[in-house]
């Protein structure tokens, strides 16, 4: 699995770490049935899953992307939506998270109303304001049964300083040819987050060059408040 880049030639510079595949860890949360599994599957596998089931506990998916010539591994942690799993089970997975994706279902007003509770959840897990968050309204292909209007969602997103994306993990634009890429926002959503994280500079953990030994954690430098591009730092939580 180790996507180790060339690692030997670092001799000259003392300060720079050796080139490694950086890892961006993103947690995806939201009510049961809003489509968290579909979204993460879509992004990582490039297609809509035929059957998804209830997620029990936490599932993990990843994808290697290239941003400005740098290979970056995006890890998505897909969590169970049912409330009882949040408290004792999922907390472990909030550790060292680099970004949060909140998902609601545009056809289910209750899932939108739950968002403050999910934001509170993040707060409880001590995710600092520097951790980027985005809001995703899923299932917008079901235009006839929309319950959460874009304006209301945008207001909420603004109030919490998050960008809003409306999307459908199951895009009707794909014409069934199996090629779903670029036919909707799913790709853009996660790539936006990745770009944002990349611009946050020293960040984070990376993978050791030879996939052995412990993971090196180079944290620090995340609190560079100067960076805060528009609407990224979440003021209220």
């Amino acid at each position: 699995m180790a996507e180790s880049g060339s690692s030997a030639e670092l001799s000259g510079s003392l300060t720079l770490p050796p080139p490694r595949t950086r890892i961006f860890k993103i947690i995806v949360i939201g009510d049961s049935g809003v489509g968290k599994t579909c979204l993460t599957y879509r992004f990582c596998a490039g297609k809509f899953p035929e059957k998804t089931e209830a997620t029990i506990g936490v599932d993990f998916r990843e994808r290697l992307v290239e941003i400005d010539g740098e290979k970056i591994k995006i890890q998505l942690w897909d969590t169970a939506g049912q409330e009882r799993f949040r408290k004792s089970m999922v907390q472990h997975y909030y550790r060292n998270v680099h970004a949060v994706v909140f998902v609601y279902d545009v056809t289910n007003a209750a899932s939108f109303r739950s968002l403050p509770a999910w934001i509170e959840e993040c707060k409880q897990h001590a995710l600092g304001t520097e951790v980027p968050r985005i809001l995703v309204g899923n299932k917008c292909d079901l235009q006839d049964s929309v319950q959460v209007g874009t304006d209301v969602a945008q207001q909420f997103a603004d109030a919490h300083s998050m960008p809003l994306f409306e999307t459908s993990a199951k895009s009707p634009n794909s014409l069934g040819d199996g090629n779903y890429r670029n036919s909707d926002h799913v790709e853009a959503i996660f790539m936006t987050v990745a770009h944002k994280l990349k611009s946050q500079k020293p960040l984070v953990l990376s993978q050791p060059p030879e996939g052995s030994g412990g993971t090196v954690i180079l944290s620090g430098g995340r609190n560079d408040g100067g960076d805060g591009g528009k609407g990224w730092s979440c003021s209220s939580c």
Binding site: S32, G33, A54, E62, Q82
Partner: protein, 397 residues
């Protein structure tokens, strides 16, 4: 490495004919055990554990109720009507059942499947309605569907209700604290057999959530071949309620080389372990799990499991409030408290002594394990333990 490949030990290859003969004999034994008065439950348990389990769904319809000690008169009860409106769990249950397509046989016509899904919803809501102390969890539907497909709605309702108030009771608490506590048994079991694997997992900080769905669905959520699921249910129904966690440990141990070759990182190890191989040698693993249970009974692991828990006493109130219903986790707690209270265990720090089992002892145990697997002795011992457990409340005499 030291638990070398013993996969073949339990099933000598004597050809198909021999297999057919054994199968016939087993069916005869089961029939006889069912026909004696009183029913020979001990034999039935042994049959459910031993190679091949209970063989057919027809047999399961007769034996599963016996394994759960269900009085015959309950079996004829017509299931009552279910109130779907105003049911607090209905939405969640509906959502989960609608998505559970994979649990049904691949070739089943949609109409038939949809009918079964309706029945599935009814069974779940009925049990919850009758037992307001029980809380639905995602994954419960994976258990119920297995019963529905094997024994049909009426019988499934009775079996699931009993199971929910016993084996699954801890999972159905208002919170998952007790479930988490049971998961804490996983690492001590792994440590006893292969400390290197346990060390590695500890270093990776992988946690135990990868095994959560295994535990609370009895593997129904993660195994795609229904025959394997049912085979495991034979085993679990005949055994102690904590057996699924031993089986989880055995799966991890079975993959020890893969685990140790994996990058020592939470995500990677979690990913590896949560992708359960579909071609596991089930019979061998079952036998091994039974073996581990006998060698490292829950009572022996209770203290270590508790050490993983940051708030060991927080559920004390739950314990006090619990009915006389037997709940694996509760019994373990009681056992632990009794141990702590008893004077003879007080001299040395027991945590220290348990935490460092001598290598010699471990080797002896591994040797014994190989032997018992080969002889099928483990199955017998587990039956005995289960028997001690079944009729009364005191789990660990």
């Amino acid at each position: 490495m030291s638990t070398a490949r013993i996969d073949r030990a339990s099933s000598p290859m004597n050809g198909r004919q021999d297999g057919e003969t054994r199968r016939k004999r087993k069916i005869a034994d089961i029939t006889q055990a069912l026909n004696v008065d009183p029913v020979d439950v001990a034999t039935l348990r042994r049959m459910a554990i031993s190679e091949g389990g209970l063989l057919t769904d027809e047999i399961r319809c007769q034996v599963w109720p016996r394994l759960l000690n269900i009085p015959p008169h309950l079996l004829d009860q017509e299931p009552e009507k279910v109130e779907r409106d105003n049911n607090k769990d209905y939405n969640q249950v509906l959502l989960d059942v609608q998505r559970s397509l994979r649990r049904f046989p691949p070739g089943m016509p949609d109409e038939q499947r949809e009918g079964l899904q309706e029945e599935l919803i009814d069974i779940i809501l009925r049990v919850l309605q009758r037992n307001p102390q029980l809380h639905y969890y995602q994954g419960y539907h994976d258990i119920v569907v297995t019963f529905l497909l094997v024994v049909g709605e009426r019988l499934a309702t009775v079996l699931v209700e009993k199971l929910s108030t016993h084996h699954l009771r801890d999972f159905m608490d208002p919170t998952m604290d007790n479930t988490k506590h049971i998961l804490n048994y996983l690492m001590p079991i792994i440590e006893r057999v292969n400390p290197e694997v346990q060390d590695f997992m500890q270093q990776a900080e992988v946690g135990t959530v990868f095994a959560l769905s295994w535990l609370i669905t009895w593997f129904g959520h993660v195994l795609s071949d229904f025959r394997h699921v049912v085979r495991l249910y034979d085993f679990f129904l005949a055994c102690h309620p904590l057996m699924p966690i031993y089986f989880a440990a055995v799966i991890v141990l079975h993959r020890e080389e893969e685990v140790l070759d994996c990058e020592c990182d939470m995500a990677m190890v979690h990913h590896l372990l949560s992708q359960i191989p579909q071609d596991l040698p089930y019979e061998t693993l079952i036998s091994r799990a039974g073996d581990l249970f006998v060698q490292f009974p829950p009572s022996e692991l209770a203290r270590e499991a508790a050490a993983h828990e940051s708030m060991a006493t927080s559920t004390f109130k739950d314990f006090e409030l619990a009915s006389t219903q037997q709940r694996p986790d509760i019994v373990l707690r009681r056992r632990r408290r009794q141990k702590q209270a008893s004077p003879e265990s007080s001299t040395l720090s027991p945590v220290m002594t348990v935490a460092q089992p001598s290598t010699a002892r471990r080797f002896v145990r591994l040797a014994v394990m190989g032997l018992t697997v080969a002889l099928g002795a483990a199955a017998l011992a587990v039956v005995n333990t289960a028997l001690e457990w079944a009729p009364k409340l005191d789990l660990f005499p």
